[in-house]
């Protein structure tokens, strides 16, 4: 019996200790965001490059996915609303589900699949090829130069791309709405504005920023766990992506709890 309890305790600790390490790392990085030394010419250049890779290069794929999802979701939603005679709830459905739930979720999945994996591999490769030693040798702080530009970019990209996704889906909603219900532009916008809840929007922005923070911080932290061997790179990326997925689910659950309590 005691052995069983000990084993449960060991298993629990083996899961909790890395989490504690990640949270300590997150705190260190978060505090450094407010350090003036972070914002030098080199870090700004990294930020611009990262923003280009994350938010600009992805645009064709992102818009394509937004149009496909927008058409499907709007098609289904309008059909259900029409059949059940719930047209009064259309605005609430679009703002409460499409904008605050679907948009950040699809956006975070796309950014995680594309950028988080790239960041994870990049940091692991830099560790293996001793390039992190180079930066330390020249007294370049890894948090200031490498990590914070990537994390800030993750947060900003999440907020902007989520907004873009919501805009595309709502625009398609306008098109479908005018075709199905014959709704005018003014009436459609009026419905959406009346359904918008300021608290929901605040929670949405915080959720997007939290997604952006953790889907870049976790790959960085797991990338740093790579050893000096090339074979440790795929292991670091695999572990990183699994933890990114867990972080997405956790943040999604926490934001839902916040919204509905």
């Amino acid at each position: 019996m005691i052995t069983t309890i000990e084993n449960i305790g060991k298993a629990f600790l083996s899961k909790i200790l890395p989490l504690r390490g990640t949270l300590q790392f997150a705190t260190r990085v978060f505090l450094n965001i407010f350090d003036r030394r972070t914002y030098n010419s080199a870090s700004r250049m990294v930020f611009i490059h990262q923003f280009y890779f994350t938010s600009v290069q992805i645009l064709p794929l992102f818009l394509f996915v937004a149009v496909i999802f927008g058409s499907l979701i709007n098609g289904m939603a309008f059909q259900v609303v029409k059949n059940l005679g719930l047209s009064d709830y259309l605005g609430r459905l679009l703002m409460g589900f499409v904008v605050t739930e679907l948009s950040p979720f699809v956006t975070v999945l796309l950014i995680a699949l594309r950028s988080s994996s790239a960041i994870n591999a990049e940091i692991a490769v830099m560790k293996v090829s001793r390039e992190l030693n180079t930066l330390e040798s020249f007294r370049i702080d890894l948090i200031h130069y490498l990590f914070i530009p990537r994390i800030l970019n993750g947060m900003l990209s999440m907020v902007l791309l989520t907004s873009l996704f919501a805009l595309v889906v709502l625009s398609i909603g306008l098109l479908v709405s005018s075709l199905v219900f014959g709704t005018s532009v003014d009436a459609y916008i009026d419905t959406l504005l009346h359904s918008a809840d300021v608290l929901d929007i605040v929670i949405l922005l915080i959720k997007c920023a939290a997604f952006g923070f953790f889907i870049t911080l976790i790959p960085i932290r797991l990338g740093l766990n790579a050893s000096q061997e090339l074979t440790s790179i795929p292991v670091a990326v695999l572990n990183g992506m699994v933890k990114v997925f867990l972080a997405i689910v956790t943040i999604e659950a926490l934001s839902s709890i916040l919204r509905f309590i």
């Binding site: 030098n40 250049m45 830099m126 030693n133 180079t134 007294r139 370049i140 200031h144």
Partner: protein, 143 residues
């Protein structure tokens, strides 16, 4: 050597295979990075400075290349220029024949150091004892 490096950490410009060029940055950015980070030098100015120094070594054509596509000679020159970008640099050449192994002697290193003489405060070589002949050093004090 570790003690020496620790003593001069604030002005250290290390040229060594242990501190490789950053492979996802072009050559000019590897060099400019030092001034951009430590002195907040605008990137255009830092790039101009890096290109001027690359021209001094006759390797300006490598400015947009990345580490894996460089020759050993180019890689050494760029590592030296990067080390010289540290303000009042104490340049340490750690086993330079490992970076550029085909050289018969160390004259190339001395010539290269002269090209950045105006930028560095001191230069030190650290190498294996059996390499001293390649530097022209002997045990005989009179020579």
């Amino acid at each position: 050597m570790e003690g020496f490096l620790a003593d001069h950490k604030s002005h250290l410009g290390l040229v060594s295979l242990e501190v490789p060029l950053i492979s996802n940055l072009p050559v000019w950015s590897n060099i400019a990075l030092i001034r951009q980070y430590h002195e907040n030098m605008p990137w255009e100015e830092a790039k101009t400075l890096a290109l001027d120094l690359l021209r001094r070594f006759g390797v300006a054509a490598t400015a947009e290349k990345r580490n894996p596509s460089l020759t050993a000679e180019e890689r050494f020159c760029i590592m030296l220029i990067r080390a010289a970008m540290v303000r009042d640099a104490v340049v340490v050449l750690d086993r330079p024949f490992r970076i550029f192994p085909d050289l018969p002697d160390g004259r190339f290193f001395m010539d290269s150091l002269r090209k950045v003489d105006d930028l560095i405060a001191e230069a030190h070589f650290f190498d294996y004892n059996w390499e001293k002949e390649r530097y022209g050093a002997t045990d005989d004090a009179e020579n």
